[in-house]
Symmetry: D3
């Protein structure tokens, strides 16, 4: 597969104009405050007694997310490690969920507390029960409720993700000053959103081949993955003004979260990525306000650096004093 976007030199200086809603901060303040108010109870941690893992303690978690609704997660704690531990939260790519607890063992093996957060509706354990009045969608979750920021799917999911940080910081085994958010593709976009929304609560962000950035460019250039669902939606729903749709998306765009972030961040990008075209990644990266670095996988597709990127992350966190003792 050849390059899917601009050459690297152009990417490095790519700064498109994308309208920011005037009430962006108000929208999110109110959204998050409402979710916190709806959280009537604490997170619940059920230890998996029958787990065949012996170096890790596994907990099946339910924490109150959007609307106080229970969001599933796995918490993995390295057995016998001395609290408080630094922690990594991982958000998941599009059309999956938290999976099985034995599928993501890196961070706990490295001594971190590790929380794997389910994506409402996309997996099997966290419903997205909200009725969606008056609007419909095509295919996946990308367009669910897209005609109104109040009802857009990612309002709920991003809120869940911010709540996950708040919940984990309160866990007795976790050092609240060393909570890192991470993810690839949709998970990367979510980590970026949380970095922009949760401020100092986040110690660092690991943002791999992020989705959810510069949606218009994604719709215009991506040939695979969920961005084309936007074009499909607007093609099917011809009575819908595209500006309405992109107006909604402006509340959920990584290019607006990036300048609000303060935590250091390590991005990655694949220059042959047909799903999250590099220009959408750089549109956000170039505006990121915290300390930042990016691993450019010149021949990487949407898999980016695959197994090499986590290794880079382990080293990068250690250099910043965020690794376990």
């Amino acid at each position: 597969m050849p390059l899917t976007d601009m050459p690297l030199d152009e990417l490095r200086s790519y700064r498109p104009m994308i309208t920011e809603p005037e009430d962006f901060d108000a929208f999110w303040s109110k959204t998050l405050a409402t979710a916190r108010d709806a959280a009537t109870g604490p997170a619940e941690y059920h230890r998996i007694e029958e787990s065949p893992l012996s170096t890790v303690d596994v907990y099946d978690v339910r924490f109150p997310g959007w609307g106080g609704q229970p969001v599933a997660a796995w918490l993995l704690l390295p057995r016998g490690a001395a609290a408080p531990l630094p922690a990594v939260i991982t958000y998941i790519g599009y059309s999956g969920g938290r999976g099985l607890f034995h599928e993501s063992l890196l961070w706990s093996a490295a001594g971190y507390a590790h929380l794997v957060v389910d994506s409402r509706g996309q997996g099997h354990d966290t419903p997205d029960p909200d009725p969606v009045p008056g609007t419909q969608y095509v295919g996946g979750y990308m367009t669910r409720g897209i005609e109104d920021p109040q009802h857009y799917y990612y309002r709920r999911l991003m809120t869940d993700c911010v709540r996950a940080v708040e919940v984990l910081r309160a866990h007795p085994s976790v050092d609240p000053e060393r909570v890192v958010v991470s993810g690839g593709s949709q998970g990367g976009g979510l980590a970026l959103a949380v970095a922009g929304l949760a401020g100092d609560a986040v110690a660092a962000a690991l943002v791999d081949v992020p989705f959810l950035c510069h949606y218009r460019r994604g719709a215009d250039t991506a040939s695979q993955g969920p961005y084309p669902e936007l074009a499909q939606y607007l093609s099917v729903h011809k009575r819908v003004d595209p500006e309405l749709v992109f107006g909604t998306l402006n509340y959920f765009d990584g290019v607006h979260f990036a300048p609000r972030a303060t935590a250091p961040a390590l991005f990655s990008v694949g220059l042959m990525d047909p799903v999250c075209p590099p220009s959408t990644v750089y549109a956000a990266y170039n505006r990121y306000a915290g300390e930042k670095d990016i691993r450019v996988w010149q021949f990487g597709d949407h898999g980016g650096g695959r197994g090499s990127q986590p290794y880079e992350q382990l080293l990068w966190l250690r250099e910043r004093g965020l690794a376990p003792a």
Copy 2:
């Protein structure tokens, strides 16, 4: 494209064993009774005053469907025709909706009252607002609520479709003894379901390249369209027993509606159809209990006979005394 399934000779005698739930009739009796009870008000007909059509009167309809929820439809009446008119109800293919009122003008031009029923959730005007507790889905509507017959999407949509017959029969311009159900692909599967559920209320059924028949065979053999969403769902949700899913689908399968139908029916099938493989069509057709005929488009793909099939339908209805005077 070559043949996508068995040769025609084998299709004609294809009679696979497919389990029928013991409570099939009870399930549907209760489902339909509940919907009727929920219909607190009458259907509403808003005449489109600004319509640029001059030979047809167009009404934007909302009638109470599943749960009494408003279902959109278009009603087209040939202007100046003398009531009571024979009527055709058309259900729509997967991932669309009733569309625009000027897009389906055949039946009204032929002198029939014509009701085009929206598919909840798939179009723009009929939400499918039910929360779906505890289960999720992939891609489209095929798997929405699939782990429980009570919550499966098609329980709601098929109920809407039966309700449409009941509603239209009560319209003053319509001859209740001459209401025909029709559709292609998903619309064909819905017409077949209604023929099986609504008994004498249906005067005839026009079932083109129907979907929603013999799901297991569809999942095993279709290479395009929505049947593969079943395989995708069971591939992603590996903890779900396939028997659970196919157990749900048994309540919604054309092979079980077919032997309950009494109205005459005209089917069609394309032998090169990769979306609704011919064996799934014949599995239902071979069990159809009413008078029946089938147009075999030997070189047809999922488009079947395209424009030729409606012409066949016009003649076939006329032969049976169902055409306008």
Copy 3:
């Protein structure tokens, strides 16, 4: 599918240099005059007595086109409407024909006389019997006779299309001052050609996602549809000078018809159209000399606005006083 061509801003100012043959007007004057001379008899209208349509009278038409050869068409007249009626002529997309008379009911339902013109050779009812001396072709009609403007297929088809206007204007039910030409893809290219060739005889032109514009750009950029047949032809027939081929095409290019047109025109374009790349559409649109407007379907493929575009056309014609009373 991503954008298939330049961004919209560039399209709006795209004005490539394309050579116009010096004898362009002479070529066409002589061509049309010859066809008129060859038309020894009048058009024939055979009413379809057995038509199942009741709001429309249908006529199977044969009118003398190129060389006086009989060209098939359907004429649909709204039953009982008071003459003279405004009329719409529709030309057909590549590799089809006029189809069945019940397949195109919009314009008659809206009160217009409607003539659907067959494409010689492409359908079933109008042969293209001319022997083609000394030159050959690949695949479809795109390259038939392409090495000589005198023998090129579109010389004959475009002449048929102009003749259709002249014929319809003489019909007693038709208002000759309100004859509109229309079509999509090839049909759009033909409507544009007729608008350029027939002058005041055309009251308006509806030009959707037009083909037959800026052939060289089409051959260089289209990935689907008939433009690649040009590349295939020149690839197979390597002894043929490309300039010879494009020299022929210069007599049939929408970019040369556009500045000759005087009637108002409503175009459409899909920015994700891989068959008629947007730059080929704008190359003609930007030179169009009559009053003009264009509906830009930013997420449309070669289907453009699908059912929404005809609705736009109905309104646009009404605004210009061209609709039925």
Copy 4:
């Protein structure tokens, strides 16, 4: 690519019933007699003086084929070889023509006279000027005139091919008792047809991965190449009875030419051929009445044995005393 058809064991005994027209022989006798009568002049041989080849003398040939129309060919004679020479006639694959004279040098290098016959309409030098009354076609030549055996394209092309044998046998450099017909794909189907039509005039036939055999099976199973044009035609022209089309094809089917052939023949087949499925080849091969053998390329696609097959042919001809001294 996996196997495209039955396993080899089944192929070897595959003998489908295919109707032979009662007047098959009369049809062809009359067809050929008419063509011979139309041949008012002799073949013309123009020596290419400027040829850069030094071991071969090249002639640009025009001989009277169907309707006496001039058919192009190349004749290559090994320079200085003593007449009379054995000769090979090569027919060409679909959608090409005789090409350039330097592109096919094997047989002349092996000491044979070699005639490469153009395919009317498909190349650049032999028009197919016949008007085709009342019927049309899709895509290529496969469906040109297909609704009537009198007008079907292959009636004209096969006649040209028989005429080529008669012409070459009369050439002073050629031994009329050692004229071999050959070709691959369409060329193989033509060689088979000529072997069935020309009787003792043919000394041997080299039939590689032949097309034009058991059309119905080809239409039902081939996924690439020209057989799918049959399905496309019958899909577009739905008013045409498939039996009419296959009735025409019965006059041009290798399965009917095969039992009429007397010359020895060497076939080839690729078991992974998606263009000419092996069962269509064996349907003809199993009925071939002359001495016969077949090279089975178990892993060959439509290229069959590629360069290895001609070598097999050289040896096989030598074994039968047909090679040059």
Copy 5:
């Protein structure tokens, strides 16, 4: 994707005849004995001091494989676990290698010693330096040296894999009676080969969607992955007798290793697997001589059960007393 092979009922009784070389056992006895003789030194274990993992000790291993050549592996030992530990050896899929040490953490997290064996030539750390006299290959390793069992690539790789068992059993932390072999795709085929070659040295085998079984069927039916390289090789090298190639492969076929195995085995298969068609898996499974079970993923592609299969394996090993205390 639909089913890629026979229905399940047929698979369960599929027992094709595949020739076993008379000297099969002698060939392998000699091969393995030679490798053992060549192993002049012990395995080397270099502890990765800088590893960021804290619950696992990681060793970069080199052990003497085929020809005594150094083969790379990772050894992961759960930190602080009491020896002797049960152990799992994992072989790798086609066209990869042992990867990075942090990429495969399941077995060590579950308390097993875990050895991840590199595939010579396919990864980055284990060359396959043997010159291959006189024979060539296409694409990947599948055809390297395929014309002679002595030189075939898998002779060397399978020997490495047997040697890995012998080496690991001698490690002081490992319980030699509880060494399990495992892998998916190529890794599954290798685990099966080792189960057949190493006898009692293997305590159990975990064989997922195995490759390297019934090569002829694979070449005839697989549409993706490495089996088609066989067809490609035999298509390119037409002078090579297919029997020679399949004669070589008979020494390396899972269907011959299976009846020699004695350890219990857990297989898996995906019925929609286009890479290792289910019939090739069942051809081996049905002959497996040890205690056996198979997880059938009815809707699984070549990913089989993905993350669910390892969980099944953990439970299955525990039931057999092979799990850590």
Copy 6:
């Protein structure tokens, strides 16, 4: 297929900066000197007695190439032609070999001595036996030994190709002042390399759609063929610095051979070539130091001008006095 690269105007002035290694000339001087020293014996010419060709004498050649290893070739001499003859050497495209001796008969038929050189490892008759210490590869030969110029596959193959010139010039039938190198794709890249390395020993170069030019651009833009193997390699072997790989390739790049060439050259390029994008061809062509011309096939894919290009070459050589008398 549309254009695959820049418009022609930009191509004509495309001059990218590509680093030339400082020791480029030294590297090659030493490489060639070493190969010459290793050639302990003369070339061997075995006449094929059983050849069925009668106008050509065929010799199966083995000449000492890289490391003195025997390289296969076919020598075809027009029978009875008077020595000394001008000669053409042909190098072969990727993933093939010299093929069969009867497959390439043009140049001998035109009176030239013709040497067809095998590609080590890619065909069946010339092994590439060198062990490759410490580095691996993916797929084909493109990446074999790519991490070190000393071990890169093309060092050996290009040396073979230079040696072929030296060997042929010493043949008694050949005029050493009229030895032409030629080839398409990989063969074109090799002909260009030899033109740059062999100086006056080459009388002319025929370079068709050459591969092996501006590798970085090829890796970034080619969508088919072997250039993407570079991206695949760097994607799999993420620990390898891309600069290391491109540093190796700088020793083997046509853009560096071009300015060293002195012989006249005829290039070709296809503007719709997805395998060797036109910009990679022009990157070399624009730097070519000898007399030069290029045939631009504006609608050509990787086949370029197909049979037309050799005819151009025959004429072009004749014009330069290099044709046989």
